[in-house]
Symmetry: D3
Subunit: 245 residues, 6 copies
C-alpha cells in the first residue's frame, strides 16, 4: 500500500483546537499515513450555528483547494456540522469526510442505536438535519447538549469535560443506546477514556474520519466526478472568491 497524506481541516480559526485535533488524528493514523492540520486564516473562532457554518465553509474550501494542489490523498472537515461538505467534494479530487458523518457511520457499525452529545442546544438542529441527510434518523435515539460553548472545552477549567461525561452517563442510563457520538471536534480526546469508563463505544469523529479516508484511499476510491459532485462549473468568480474554483 502506498502512503496516505491527509489534510485535516479545522474549520474554525482556533490554533490550539487545531493542534489538539491533530493530536487526536495522529493517535489513530496507520503507519504510512501522514496527517497535517490547517485552519482558515479568516473566519470564526468557533462554530455554533448555521451562520458560523456558512462562514466556515469558505475557509474549508480555501484549504481544500490548497490541499488539492498539494496532492493530498484526502481531506477531513473537523467540525461536527460538516460545514461545506458537498461543496468541498465538488472542489476536491481526493475523498472528503466530515467528522459528523464519520462518527455517525461508525456508530451504526457497532451499535443499533446511539446518542449524540454536543455543545450548545442551538446546534442540535444541525445534527438533526445531518442525521436526516445521512439516513441515520432511526439510529439516533436522542440528542443531548451540555449547554456550554465550544471553546469552553478549551478553557482549562474542566467544566465542559465534566458535563460531557455527565451527559454520556445519562445517555447510558436513560437512552437505551449502545454507543455515544461526541458532537464536537473539541471532544476528540475524551473518546478513549469515556469508552473505557462507560464500557461502551464513545465515538470521536476526527479519528473516524481519518480511518475512513485511509479506507477509501486503500480501496483506490475517491469522490465521484460523475454527476453532481463533479468539479464546479468553470466560471469567473470575483473579489474575495477569485480563483477559488
Amino acid at each position: 500500500m502506498t502512503s496516505c497524506c491527509i489534510q485535516l481541516i479545522n474549520p474554525n480559526t482556533s490554533l490550539s483546537m487545531t493542534e489538539r485535533i491533530l493530536t487526536a488524528a495522529r493517535d489513530v493514523a496507520a503507519p504510512g499515513t501522514d496527517i497535517f492540520a490547517v485552519c482558515p486564516e479568516e473566519g470564526a473562532p468557533s462554530i455554533e450555528g448555521h451562520f458560523d457554518e456558512a462562514i466556515a465553509a469558505i475557509g474549508v474550501l480555501q484549504r481544500i483547494k490548497e490541499g488539492r494542489e498539494q496532492g493530498v490523498d484526502g481531506h477531513v472537515i473537523a467540525c461536527f456540522g460538516d460545514p461545506g461538505l458537498l461543496a468541498a467534494r465538488e472542489l476536491a479530487s481526493a475523498p472528503v469526510i466530515g467528522i459528523a458523518e464519520a462518527a455517525m457511520h461508525m456508530a451504526t457499525l457497532v451499535a443499533t442505536r446511539f446518542t449524540v452529545v454536543t455543545t450548545l442546544p442551538r446546534t442540535l438542529i444541525i445534527a438533526r438535519h445531518l442525521l436526516q441527510q445521512y439516513g441515520f434518523e432511526r439510529h439516533c435515539a436522542r440528542l443531548r447538549a451540555i449547554d456550554l460553548p465550544v471553546l469552553s472545552l478549551e478553557d482549562g477549567s474542566g467544566l465542559a469535560r465534566r458535563k460531557v461525561r455527565e451527559q454520556c452517563l445519562n445517555a447510558k442510563r436513560e437512552d437505551g443506546v449502545g454507543a455515544i457520538v461526541l458532537g464536537c471536534a473539541g471532544m476528540a480526546d475524551l473518546a478513549l477514556e469515556l469508552s473505557a469508563e462507560l464500557e461502551m463505544p464513545v465515538i470521536d469523529g476526527v479519528s473516524a474520519a481519518v480511518k475512513l479516508i485511509e479506507s477509501l484511499h486503500g480501496m483506490k476510491l475517491s469522490t465521484s466526478k460523475q454527476g453532481d459532485l463533479d468539479f464546479p462549473v468553470q466560471k469567473e468568480l470575483s473579489g474575495y472568491f477569485k480563483g477559488l474554483n
Copy 2:
C-alpha cells in the same frame, strides 16, 4: 396595514438577472409593498452546485446584514437552492424566505403533487435535499432538468426558454401532477404565460417569496429568535468576515 419594505437578494453577481428578478417581484407586490433588489459585489455570476452555493451564501449574509441595518421588513433569497437560508434567518430580525421553499409551499396549496423543472442536472440533488428538508418529498412526483446552464436563460437566444416549456409540457403529459415549480429565479417571467398555456399552475418562487414575506409581515410574524434561529453567538470574526455578525 403598514407598508412593507422587502429586500430582494439575488445571490449571484449578475446585474441583468437581478433586474429581471426585481421586475417579476414587483409584478406581484401588493400596494404598499416596496421592493428593492441587491446582489453580492463579489461571488459567482451563476449558481450551479454546492460550491457556488457556499460562495453565494456569504454574499447573501452581507446583504442580509445591510438590509437588517436598513430596517427592511423581509428578505428574499432569489436562487432556487435557497443558499444560506438558515444562516440568514439567524442573522436577520425580519423574515427571510427562499424562493425554492416559497414555490414548493405554494405548489402544495394548489395541487396534490408537482414536478420541478430546473437548469443543470447537477443541481437536482440540491432540490432533492430541499424537498427532504422542507417535508415535500411525497409531494414532488419528478425532478426535470433542461440541461442548460442558468445564464442561458439570459442569452437572448430563447433556447433555454423553449426547453423549459418543453419540459413543462412533458410534465403535464407524463408525471400525473397538478402543478409545476420553476426551479430557477431566471425563469420567473415565464410562470404566467406557461400557466396560461398549460392551463395549470406553473409557479415561480420569486413572486411566491414576495407574497410570503407580505403574509408574515401582515401577521406581525418574524423569524423566531427563540432557540436555534436566534442571532449568531457574538464572537470576533476575522479577516474578510470581520463585522459580518
Copy 3:
C-alpha cells in the same frame, strides 16, 4: 392589484365563533381584501373528532358551492382539522386553504420546529395525520392538548385561555421549539398577545390562511384543475346532496 374577496367558512354552526373568527381574519386583511364569514346552517356546534369532521365537511362543501357561484377569490376552512379540504378544492375554482395547513406552513417559515397546542386530546390524532399528509412530521416537536372542549374557549370563564397560555409556556420551556401553532380557530385572538408575552411566534391559522389566499390571488394562482383536483365528475347526486356538485 385587483381587490380580493375571501369567503371565510367556519365549519361548525356556532355563530358567535363565526363572528370572532371573522374579526381575527379582518385584523390581518390587506387593503383591498374583503372578507365575509359563513357557517353551515346544519351540522355540529363544534368539531372534536373524525365524526364531527365528516359532518362538517358537508356544510363546508355547501358553502364552497355558494362562494363559487358568488365568484369569491378564495375560501378559508376555519377549523384546525381542515375538514373537507381536498373535496372543497375539487369543487372550488378559487383557492381553498385550511387553517391547520396555513398555520403549519407559516410555522416552518419562521422556526425550524414547532409545537401544536390544541383542545381535546382526542383531536391530536387528526393533527398527527395532517402533519403526515402535509409533510411536517419532522417539523413538529410535540402535540399538546389543554383537555377542554372547543366551546370552552367561548364560555367567558377564561379557563381555556389560561390553559392555552400555560401549555404555550410549557412548550417554550420544554420542547426546544421556535414557534407554537394554535390548534383551534377559537384561539385566533390569542396569537398576538401570546406572541408578545412569550417573545416567539405563536401562530393562528385563520390569519395565516387569509394571507395565503391573498398571496395566491396576487400570484394569479388557483387550485389546479389539471388532474386529481379537477371539478368532481358530473353525476346525479340524490336527496340531501342533490345539486351539490
Copy 4:
C-alpha cells in the same frame, strides 16, 4: 364460536353494485357468518374523488348507526377509498373495516410488494394517501388506473373488465410484485379468476374485509373506545344530521 352478523355498506347508491358486492362477500363468509348489504338512500351513484367521498361518508355513518342499533358484529365499508372510516369507528361499537385497508393488509401477508389496479387516474391520490396512512408506501410498487369510471364495471360491455385484466398482466410483467390489489369494490368478482389466470394473488378488498371482521369477532376484539376512537362527544347536531350521533 358464536355466529357473526356483518353489515356490508356500499357507500354509493347503486343497488346493483350493492348486490354484486354482497355476493362476493357471501362467497367467502364462514359458516355462522351472516352478511347483509345496505347502501345510502341519498348520495352519489359512484365514488370517484374526494368530493364524492365526503358525501358518501354521511351515508356510511347513517348506515353505521343503524347497524349499531341492530347490534351487528361488524361493519364493512365497501369502497376502495375507505370513506368515513375513522368517523365510522368513532360511531360504531363493533369493528369497522374498509376494503382498501383490508386488501392492502392481506397483500402484505402473501407478498413483499404489490401493485394497485384502480379505475380513474384521479382516484390514485386517494390510494396514495391511504398507503401513507396505513403504513404501506414501501409495500406498494406501483399504482395503475384503467382510466374508466367505476360504473363501467357494471355496464355489461366487458370493456372495463378486460382493461383490469390487461393492467394486471402488465403489473405481473413489469412491476416486480408478488400480488395485485384490486382498487374498486366493483372488481370484487374478478379476484378469483384473475388469481387463477395470473398464478399470483389478486386480492379483493370486500372478501378481505369480511374475513378481518370475522377475525376480530373471533378474537373478541372491537374498535377501541379508549382514546381517539371513543364515541363522538355528545352534542346537539342540527338539521339533516340531527340524531346521527
Copy 5:
C-alpha cells in the same frame, strides 16, 4: 367452507410453552379449523435476541417443510420476533403468519396507535425493526419491556404476569394509545383478561395469526410464488441442512 388445518410452530424448544400456545390458539379457532402444535427438537429453550432467532429459524424451517409435506393449510410462527418468516414463506406453499405481524396488523384495525409490551429490553430492537419492515412505525407510540426473561412467564410465580399487567396499565395512562400488543407468545393467555380489565384491546399475536390464516384460507389466498417468495432455488444443501429445501 372447507376445513382448515393449521400448523402452529413454537420456535423455541419448550414443550410446556408449546402446549400453552396451542390452548390459546384453539380458543379462537373457527369451527372446522384444526390446529396442531410443534416445536423444534433442537435449538433454544427461549428466544431473546438476534442470535436465538437465527437458531430458531432453522427449527421453524424444518417444521415448515414437514407441514408442507403434510399438506397443512397454513403455518403460524409463534414467537414475537417472527423468526425466519420470509424464509418460511419461500419454503411453504400455504400461507405463513408471524405473531408479531399478526398482532400489529390487528392493532391498527381497532386503534390509531398502540403500545407493545414485551419481555427483555434487548428484544425491543427486534420489535423496532419489525415495525419498520411492516410499515407500522407511526402506529406504535411506545415499546415497553418488563425486564424479565421469556421463561419467567412460565415459572408459576406470577411475577412476570403482574409486571405485564403493570406495564399495560402504564401504557393506558401515559402513552395515549387505544390498544396494546403483547410482545411474547408466552403472554397469549393474558390478552382476554387484560382487555376486560383495561377496557381496551389487548392483543395476542397467536390468536391473531390463527385468524389471519383462516382468513387467507377462506379467500383461497396463499403465499405468492410469483417473484421473491417463490420456492428456494433448487441446490444441493449439505450436512445438517441436507434435504431441507
Copy 6:
C-alpha cells in the same frame, strides 16, 4: 498500531469463491493486517434468497464463534445480504461487518446517490430491506439485477461478468448516480477494472468491509456490549446448536 487479524467468512460453502474473495480482501489489506478466509462446512453452495440466508446464518455463527476463540480482531460476513449480521454481533466480541453495509456506507461517502447491481431479481428484496434498515433508501436510486445465479460468476464463461458490466454502463447512462455498488461477493474482483472503465466509483463490499474492520480496530472500537448487542443470554442450546453460544 498493533497488527490486525481479520476472519473473512464466506457464508456459502463454495471453496473456490472463498478463495477468490480472500484474494480481493488481501489486495486492499493494510500492512500489518492479516486475513484468513473460512466458510461453513455445511450449508448452501450459494445464497439467493431468504431461505438460503437463514441456513447461511448458522454457518456464519459457527465461524464467528471459532474466530472469537482464536482472538481475531474482526469478522467480515462476505455475502451481500449480510446474513446473520446482528446475531453475529451478539456472539462476537470483535467488530463484525457485512459486505452490503460496507459497500453502501462507502458509496454514500463518495457520491450523493448510487445504484446496486446484483445477481437474481429475487434477491432485490433483500437489498431493499437492508437499505431501509441501514438508512440508505434515499441514497439508492435504483436496484438492478443481471438475472443470472451467483455461481454463474464462477463458471468461467464470462457471461455474468459481461452482464454486470452492461448493467453498470446502463446505470451510468440512465440512473443519474455517482457510484455503483456491486451486489455480490463474487463480483469483488470486478470493482477496480469497472471503476477505471466507467470513470466512477464501482464499489466492492469485501474490500470495503476489510477497511472498516481495520478502521474500527485502529480506533479501538468494537461491537457494543452495552444493550441489545450484548452476548446472547446464556441458555442450554440443544442438538446441532449445542455449545454455539
